[in-house]
Symmetry: C2
Subunit: 246 residues, 2 copies
């Protein structure tokens, strides 16, 4: 069966995914590696608070690149800058640690576990359409994440290929261009309504999958679909079923 997006009027040829939060659980993965780092170095740190503080710098750190006041640099570099800032915020000194240990902690973003439905869902969906990330992460990060978590992407294009960070329209449209698809033939799947809002503005199809524990047990945002998305699905497996032969 082919799936025609009601909003774009096109048959969807590629279903791309926001990755952090939508496909993998960044919060517990990063906290796990922060805890291991703290234990190894015998320092007391609230690992979950550290993960949240590190992630809180994610959006602001891309902003100068989005508004072109800074040249594009790949996300692993921003993660490293943000890690240094977070270390300082927790009254630690990065210079007290071996550079290799800091680099290894920065690679925590490559060691994130998929949500329970992700691997099977992507594999099933990949039988019908091109399946890949549409993430702010760079290719090397996404590749290592995929190898570890066994994410069965058809293709991986990183933000270092588009040289644009979501939610600029260029990030969505350049991805379609790289794949030689019309924006309307591409669907973004995300657990974040804001991401979908901009994808829709860029002309893509949209699918929402809630990830109600991404931000922890007290999560209050993105619990439900807040836009007119093509599809609202309980899981990636549920999404794949919309593309399956009847």
């Amino acid at each position: 069966m082919t799936y025609v997006s009601p909003s774009t009027g096109c048959e969807i040829k590629a279903v791309l995914f926001d990755t952090f939060g939508s496909v993998v659980d960044w919060r517990s993965g990063v906290a796990r590696d922060v805890a291991a780092f703290a234990k190894h170095h015998r320092i007391g740190v609230d690992a979950v608070a550290f993960a949240d503080a590190w992630r809180a710098k994610y959006e602001p750190s891309m902003e100068p690149i989005r508004n072109r006041s800074r040249e594009f640099v790949p996300l692993d570099q921003l993660h490293m800058e943000n890690l240094h800032a977070t270390v300082a915020e927790f009254d630690l000194n990065a210079a007290d640690f071996d550079n290799r240990d800091i680099a290894d902690l920065n690679a925590a973003w490559e060691r994130l576990d998929p949500w329970q439905d992700s691997v099977a869902g992507l594999a099933e969906l990949g039988r019908h359409v091109i399946v890949g990330p549409l993430s702010n992460a760079n290719l090397a990060l996404l590749l290592r994440m995929a190898l570890r978590a066994k994410l069965p992407w058809t293709v991986i294009v990183g933000s270092d290929a588009t040289r644009a960070y979501k939610p600029t329209l260029q990030a969505y449209q350049s991805m379609a261009w790289i794949l030689r698809l019309d924006p309307g033939q591409v669907m973004l799947t995300a657990a974040h309504n804001r991401d979908l809002t901009f994808a829709q503005r860029a002309g893509l199809g949209t699918a929402f999958i809630p990830r109600p524990t991404e931000l922890g047990p007290g999560q209050t945002k993105d619990l439900t679909a807040e836009g007119d998305w093509d599809l609202v699905c309980a899981s990636i497996l549920d999404l794949a079923s919309r593309f399956a032969d009847e």
Copy 2:
């Protein structure tokens, strides 16, 4: 087993492949599609001569981009420009054909058959290292080629990500950078001694696999290894065996 390149001194983490000629047979694939195009349009054309003439424009068309007298454009665009020039060379007029038929003929480069050992060899090699193309082709072309020919790449990075054409050193070194590997951890496999010469200069490991019929039955070049390559292999399966557990 891990494989340490004697020339770079590094363990090889990624084995990348020249694609046209080394992994897939461009000449018979393009000639097949030219013949089908000619038959459909009831024109008499020597399809193999057309394929050779089209391919003859490949290297010269990248030269202005390599020497920076032209901005980077992706290979599918160069193929299209070269197709128009070849059509004219054969005393045909591109305007006589539907644009969609011309675009479909240009996509012949996506419909190339793998050499007999390619699919099994890449699959076996992919159990041990990252396996991908290091081609002048852009991602969309390589992706569609891989989907059709079932090439089991671990990852596809196109020249539209490095924005550099081989054999500039930048093409090899940017690929390693995108993968976050040292050049010495990357090996280029190719059927072309010239490609390997520049890969070696760029600091990569090298493997040669002869493809003695790439240019047809009368092929005189690249029949044997002409440099001090790390490996000289009879096939990609043979190459994979050098990375296999003993």
